[in-house]
Structures are given as C-alpha cells and as structure tokens.
C-alpha cells in the first residue's frame, strides 16, 4: 500500500514538481492543497500518512495550521521553506511539525526525508541545525529573563525601558514627571528584583525580552 502524502503549498508549479518527483520515486500516493482550507479538507478526505507543509501556507502560515491539525486531526507533518531562519524552524517544530526540510533539496533527498519520517524519526536538514540551536538558546534566555522582568511594576518597566534606550536618570525624571530621587529608587528596586549588578545588565535583559527598541506591550503591577 502506497504512503499517502499531502503536499500543501500555494505555488501550483512547486506542488506539480513534488508530485512528479514522488510518483517517479514510487510508493507514494500524492494529493495536493493550496491553502489551509484545502489542506483540512484533504486531510479529512485522504487521511494522509505525511503532510509536506509550506511554512507560509495561506492564510496564516504553517504554525497556525499546525495548531489546527494537532487539535482536529493527526497526520505527521514535515514543514519546509526555501531559506527559513532558526526561529521559524523552531516555531514550526514547537507547533508540532516532526521535521523540517528546505525547498532547494533534490528530489532524492526529499524522498529520503519522507522515509526517515515513516521510520518514526525526524528529518531535519543538517544546515538548519545551527540556526535551530541558536533560536532555542535565545528562546530559553528570553523565558528566563521574562520570568524576572514580570516581577517589575509597570512604573519600573517604564523606567527600565528608558534606561534601555540609554536615557539618563535626570531625563527619565523629566519624561515621567517624577523626581530624580524617585527614579534612583526605581532603579535600585529594578536591580534588586532582577538580581543584577548594574543598569547596563538590566537594560540588556529588557532588550532581550522586549527587543532593541520595544516598549512592553503589557503592564504588570506587582
């Protein structure tokens, strides 16, 4: 019995190429979907063993689609893209993809990846691993820092945000309409709560959590 593979990709020419390559390799029954709606219908109808899922599948991309597949259905999904970065690969894997390939792979390599998946293993292109490890480490660091940052009050987050932008105490006082003494007190509290020795380190944590120029999108009051 052939392995049922669903190719979900908005580019018809690419789907056609994948279908031709898999049918030439033999042992695969291929179906196609151009967007998430078609994919969900095809999963229901064809019960594929494997799904090759484009990272940018309309309308919301592979990560969103994986969320729906996980809850409603259950084929094994291999995501892929042309030049994905580590964060994208990690996001897809975290959302439930069992592997990640790149679209510039030769047909034989893709077929090998599918066989790897059928054996219960995770096909991941070697060139992606460094990026994935980097993304994982950054994500862990962000989580750790985020746990510490959440202890800050909304006012302390405001102060820290300005520190991260390189603002001096005197200017922070003016911007927030408080005394410089109060700013210093906030800074002491921030250093204590984050358990860091200096405002530079606190600023680094802020930038790691909220991005280089990002102000917090939420305010937490302790």
């Amino acid at each position: 019995m052939p392995t049922r593979v669903l190719v979900a990709d908005p580019v018809g020419l690419f789907r056609m190429g994948v279908r031709a390559a898999l049918e030439r390799a033999g042992g695969f029954a291929v179906s196609e979907a151009g967007d998430e709606t078609e994919l969900l219908a095809a999963v229901e109808r064809d019960r594929p063993d494997l799904v090759l899922l484009d990272l940018h599948l309309p309308p919301f991309g592979a990560v969103a689609t994986l969320g729906r597949l996980e809850s409603e259905h259950g084929p094994r999904v291999i995501a892929w893209a042309l030049e994905p970065d580590g964060d994208q690969v990690l996001a897809a894997l975290s959302a439930g993809a069992i592997g990640f390939l790149t679209k510039d792979m030769k047909a034989e390599s893709v077929v090998r990846g599918l066989h790897t998946a059928l054996e219960g293993q995770s096909p991941i292109r070697r060139s992606l691993l460094t990026g994935v490890i980097g993304a994982f480490q950054n994500s862990e660091r962000r989580d750790r820092y985020g746990e510490r940052a959440i202890k800050l009050s909304s006012r302390e987050l405001e102060v820290l945000g300005l520190i991260a932008l390189g603002t001096r105490n005197r200017d922070i006082a003016v911007q927030l309409d408080i005394s410089e003494f109060t700013v210093k007190r906030h800074v002491q509290n921030i250093l204590h709560k984050l358990n860091v020795p200096s405002r530079d380190v606190a600023a680094h944590i802020y930038r790691s959590v909220f991005g280089a120029e990002g102000a917090p999108q939420f305010a937490v009051t302790v």
Partner: protein, 99 residues
Amino acid sequence: MAVICVAPLMAEGVANALDGVADTRLLPADLEDLSTLLLTLAPDAIVVDCECRAAHVHATEHDLPLFVVPVEANGGDVPSPERLRALVVGSLLAVQVRA
C-alpha cells in the same frame, strides 16, 4: 527553453507544466559559467525561480522572453502551471511571427 532554478523540484514542476509545449533544459542556478551555457544552448525563452543575473542579461541581449516563477509566493502572484503554459505558448508564437 532553459529553466534555471535554485529548487530542483520547482524545475521539475516547470518541466511538467511545459511538457509537449517546449523542450526544457533544467539548469541549477548556481552553475558556474551559466552565461556561456546559455549561449551554447540558445534557448527560445528562459524560466527562472530566482534572481539570476546571467539569465536576465542573456534574455535582454537576445530579446528573449523571461518568465519568473518564485518558489515562494510571499504575497505575490506566481503563475499556475496552466498560466505559465499559456504564457510560454503565446511568447513562442510571438517570436515566430516576428521572425
């Protein structure tokens, strides 16, 4: 017809779409000295799935149709197999009429 691609599966899709319409030569985009190869092959049209300077220069210098079919849509419009086929047939007919 030269099909120059970074993604071999895309090249295969293009070749399938143009089956019976054109003889296709599939060329990897990172091939060394692509310009010389294009001169030797002398295609009637070129299809690329990427930014390919050699293809652009050759198409411009020889007044050839150049079709761009990106591997990823990125919100843009990638021709369907049927549309690419129609475009290629139309452009080849136009070339014949001009000749």
